[in-house]
């Protein structure tokens, strides 16, 4: 009996896989509900296809020994950056940004999502090679550089939402690697300054979003309209929700980008607080299992890899959930596993595959 066939069924982390599958299923149901019967036609079939591709990618990464990937990560990282360099210059403009590469069959791929996999591997690899209690200056510089590079390239597209999803990587990496308190203080100060300076480079619509976030009454019909409508959708769902495909806010189009950025508001409307609690609980489970796998990982690189992945997924999820209810400003951050979108689904599943790969190769009963 080969080792592979022997290992797979027993070593799979069932709760983690379950949370990912359940979230994907909930997402698929909501994509169907928010897009079927509308002018643009149902997107459920495509989402199912993306999920299938995601599961295939996850299986590939789960079976692959992550140590090989960690060692190859500098090269993978550089390769993954190539399309990001190419895009701002030659890429087609779709929906106001050069974020996409067109593929056959009407499919498009978003390289910034796929670069996430290489980035997480490289960060884990860097962290593995600095296992002192506190990170050396060189490592810190390397970590900042590895995250800043894709962020910079993605901002050129420009796609603020995706760029922001790289920030938790850096914070998590620095925290996990270990920084002295005064270095943290310096970073916080530098970060604040950068945030202040960024006001001058933000586009008008981005400034509008921040303004309306700070004062929702400012523009009840303008940018604040979306936030208000999303909150009405969420609140009107009540405890039990209006039922699948029964959400008036979402079905009648009051809810903006309801199959993507605001899919959680649509879910909250149709599934109520019960559905909200279930989905947040599933992310909790995913995160909890991630922490568990990280604790049991057989090496520092594996731990780091798992932590970076689950923290990234959880941070995105929390940011999206908060944004839907208007607690954070509207940035194009999607809900991992749930929002419609091939590249995001495939990247998230692929990273989950990395977690499963680490989980399979942990110390327990080796």
């Amino acid at each position: 009996m080969s080792r592979l066939a022997d290992a797979l069924p027993r070593r799979v982390d069932v709760p983690l896989l379950f949370s990912a599958v359940a979230l994907s299923a909930a997402g698929l149901a909501m994509v169907v509900s928010t897009t079927s019967g509308t002018a643009r036609g149902g997107l459920g079939g495509r989402q199912a296809l993306f999920l299938l591709a995601g599961v295939v990618a996850a299986s590939f990464f789960a079976l692959f020994d992550y140590r090989l990937l960690l060692r190859a990560s500098p090269a993978l990282f550089l390769v993954s950056l190539l399309p990001l360099v190419w895009l701002p210059v030659f890429g087609p403009t779709i929906a106001g940004a050069k974020s996409w590469i067109r593929l056959f069959g009407g499919f498009q791929v978003q390289p910034s999502e796929l670069a996430r996999i290489a980035t997480v591997l490289l960060l884990a690899w860097i962290l593995e090679n600095d296992d002192r209690p506190y990170l050396s200056t060189r490592t810190v510089a390397a970590l900042v550089g590895v995250v800043a590079l894709p962020i910079g390239l993605i901002l050129l597209q420009p796609d603020l939402g995706v760029a922001l999803t790289y920030v938790p990587f850096l914070l998590a990496a620095l925290y996990l690697g270990g920084l002295r308190p005064r270095v943290w203080a310096g970073l916080v100060l530098a970060g604040s300054l950068a945030a202040g300076a960024s006001w001058f480079v933000l586009k008008d619509y981005q400034k509008d979003r921040i303004r309306t976030f700070l004062d929702p009454d400012l523009a009840a019909r303008g940018a604040g309209y979306q936030v208000r409508q999303a909150r009405i959708a969420i609140g009107s769902g009540g405890i039990a929700g209006k039922g699948w495909k029964e959400g008036t806010q979402s079905r009648l189009g009051f809810l903006p980008v309801r199959h993507s950025d605001f899919i959680f508001a649509a879910l909250a409307e149709e599934r109520g607080f019960v559905g909200v609690a279930a989905v947040i609980g599933l992310y909790g489970l995913y995160l909890a299992r991630g922490f568990g796998v990280a604790r049991d990982a057989r090496d520092r690189g594996g731990s780091m890899l798992v932590l970076l992945v689950v923290l990234n997924v959880a941070a995105q999820a929390a940011a999206n959930v908060a944004m839907n209810v208007g607690v954070l400003p509207t940035t194009g951050i999607t809900l991992p596993f749930v929002s419609y979108g091939g590249s995001s689904i495939i990247a998230t599943w692929a990273m989950t595959g990395l977690v499963l790969s680490v989980a399979q190769r942990r110390f327990v009963n080796v």
Partner: protein, 637 residues
């Protein structure tokens, strides 16, 4: 490869623990926020979501039809088609406008203006591009419904006045409610709604308008209707039956085709208005659409003021028609009917010479009425004094509105010594009384007041009924009827023989040789009447009135009732600059009397074809201009 076994994992595990605490705190916090919105405030948001998706739109009720006393249709409704542009349905409004301009041949500039005017409003509220599409144009637009979903044809109802200009002043017209009208009819009229302006349409707005219905439907975020939730059907307005006899109205309208003035026909017993014409008139159908600038200019630029209802809004000196009431003042103040005066063609009072239009020799009262001798009345007036004349005038209803069911009625003026002191701030000159005695001077009356006063002479009991157009309002569904309820009728007190003496004089005017209207008598009608001529320029300059420019010529009056006993009709005709009361005004009065007393004996003129005007030409105007102030009322002798 660093050996994981040798690595100190404790710092990492500690950090994982802290991260776990932080992460689950964040998730719990988020869950709490959703709890607040969904569970604690859920009902409030549910209401907001309902308001979001529901719209209620009133359904206009069909306005009640208006019929004449014989059931002939005067005002009805017809479908009208409005072209709406839903801006949110199109990416390129300009392209849609160009399409409409080309398809329907409308000026692009005008369409752009209409869109421009609504800028700043919600873009799910449609723009009215055109409110008067023809059936063919409706077809053309609907044939392109797939390419241009932003263009929608809405069917509404438009008021149609079947008789065109014939009943213009009587019926009034519809127009968008002004801010004042909205305020005074709060709750009954919506902003933008068309309501009756003037005439019967205004006076009986509440009876005619019916009750709006309400449609509640689900909309999407574009304001598009998705499904209907509820529908309350409107209640159509009442059908109104008027006292007007369309045949008499047409005869009068036809007579005034080339004249300026007014005519009123009443049933003296009840005050029912059989005909009421003011010339020139306007076409009330014009106001059922948006009035174009050219049309409005044509109306307000006409110096004959077609918007004015001359029968109730223009007051003039009554001229010799007034002598009938001076006769009443004389007979009730001690002057005998048989007292005679010698008329040498003039009389001198207070050192001034007053002319008569002939030398009538020795005349008594009936003769003085018959030949309209001024000298007899000069003398009577001098003896009576202006206050006695004023009292008689007020007894017959002059100096105050008649109470007719039309708005903006003028009271006229009855001069007296008190009036002179309080209004003119100087004493009354006795010489003025001489002028007032023959119906000149500051005495001002309307045609309707005169008709009402003649009713008191026509009625044996001296009844002075309130003239009214309204006969019956009938509810279309239930058939319930609202009939006219007359107020307590005033009476002119006639001492024995007084009325008979005056009527004898008025009868002779028409029926005896020498009577000023003898030429226009009709056999067997037994009409009684009085002619009147009102000087526009002073007598000295007016020797050859027919040579004067038309605007300076005398005005002509004729007031009559028939038959002498149990009169059934009173007619007053006033022709501005018509020169002589007998020749200009009497023929119409006699024709109306004959048509009423002998139905079928007078040919009824066909109404002029009321041309429904073409579609809005360039420079079409707005409701703001439609609501402009009506021209000021002109008064004076």
């Amino acid at each position: 490869m660093p050996s994981s076994a040798r690595e100190d994992r404790r710092p990492l595990l500690r950090r994982i623990d802290r991260l776990a605490v932080a992460s689950f705190s964040v998730l719990t916090l988020l869950l709490g926020i959703y709890w607040v919105h969904q569970v604690l405030r859920g009902d409030d948001y549910a209401r907001q979501a309902e308001n979001n998706r529901q719209r209620s739109v009133p359904i206009n009720a069909s306005r009640g039809f208006i019929l004449d006393r014989n059931g002939k249709l005067l005002a009805e409704n017809e479908p009208s088609f409005t072209l709406l542009l839903y801006r949110r349905e199109t990416r390129d409004v300009e392209a849609s406008l160009r399409f409409v301009a080309e398809l329907l041949g409308r000026p692009l500039e005008e369409l752009r203006r209409r869109v421009e005017r609504t800028r700043g409003g919600y873009d799910f509220v449609p723009v009215v591009l055109d409110d008067d599409l023809s059936i063919a144009e409706v077809g053309a637009v609907e044939a392109h419904a797939l390419e241009h979903p932003e263009l929608v044809v809405q069917t509404t109802e438009r008021r149609v006045y079947t008789q065109g200009t014939v009943l213009a002043h009587l019926l009034g017209y519809l127009g968008e409610a002004s801010p004042e009208q909205l305020a005074s009819r709060a709750g009954r009229v919506r902003s933008g709604e068309s309501i009756g302006q003037r005439g019967i349409e205004a006076a009986y707005q509440d009876l005619l308008s019916g009750t709006s219905g309400l449609r509640t439907f689900v909309i999407d975020s574009f304001g598009r209707e998705v499904a209907e939730l509820d529908r309350i059907d409107p209640l159509p307005g009442n059908t109104l039956v008027l006292n007007v006899d369309l045949d008499l109205q047409r005869i009068a309208d036809d007579y005034f085709r080339d004249k300026v003035g007014s005519a009123v026909a009443l049933d003296p017993r009840t005050g029912e208005i059989l005909a009421l014409v003011s010339a020139p008139a306007f076409d009330p159908n014009v106001f059922s659409r948006r009035v174009t600038r050219a049309e409005w200019q044509a109306i307000i630029g006409n110096e004959d003021r077609p918007m004015q209802n001359r029968a109730i809004q223009n007051v003039f000196s009554p001229g010799s028609v007034w002598k009938a009431f001076v006769a009443y003042a004389a007979l009730t103040n001690g002057i005998s009917a048989s007292e005679t005066t010698f008329c040498p063609g003039f009389a001198t009072f207070y050192g001034r010479r007053f002319r008569c239009h002939g030398a009538h020799g020795t005349v008594d009262l009936p003769r003085a009425l018959q030949v309209s001798c001024d000298v007899w009345f000069y003398n009577a007036g001098r003896r009576l004094g202006v206050d006695a004349l004023a009292e008689a005038a007020r007894t017959f209803g002059f100096g105050r509105p008649t109470g007719v069911d039309l708005a903006s009625e003028k009271a006229g003026n009855v001069p007296s010594t008190a009036w002179s002191q309080s209004v003119r701030k100087h004493p009354w000159y006795p010489g003025e009384t001489i002028s007032v005695a023959i119906g000149q001077g500051p005495l001002l009356v309307s045609a309707l007041q005169t008709a009402r006063a003649f009713s008191a002479l026509a009625n044996e009991d001296g009844a002075l009924p309130v003239p009214h157009l309204f006969r019956i309002g009938e509810h279309v569904r239930s058939g319930a009827r609202v009939a006219y309820r007359p107020p307590v009728t005033e009476r002119v007190p006639f001492p024995p023989g007084v009325r008979e003496t005056i009527v004898e004089g008025l009868w002779r005017v028409v029926n005896q040789p020498g009577g000023t209207a003898f030429r226009y008598r009709a056999e067997g009608l037994d009409a009684c009447g009085k002619t009147g001529t009102v000087q526009v320029v002073a007598q000295k300059q007016a020797k050859m009135t027919h040579q004067l420019p038309e605007k300076l010529r005398d005005h002509a009056w004729f007031a009559a009732f028939a038959p002498r006993e149990d009169a059934r009709i009173v007619v007053v005709v006033f022709v501005e600059n018509g020169m002589h009361g007998s020749s200009a005004a009497a023929p119409l009065a006699m024709r109306l009397i004959e048509a009423h007393l002998r139905p079928g004996s007078v040919p009824i003129p066909e109404p002029p074809a009321a041309p429904l005007p073409e579609a809005t030409p360039p420079g079409g105007t707005t409701t703001a201009e439609r609501g402009a102030t009506p021209p000021a009322t002109r008064t004076g002798a």
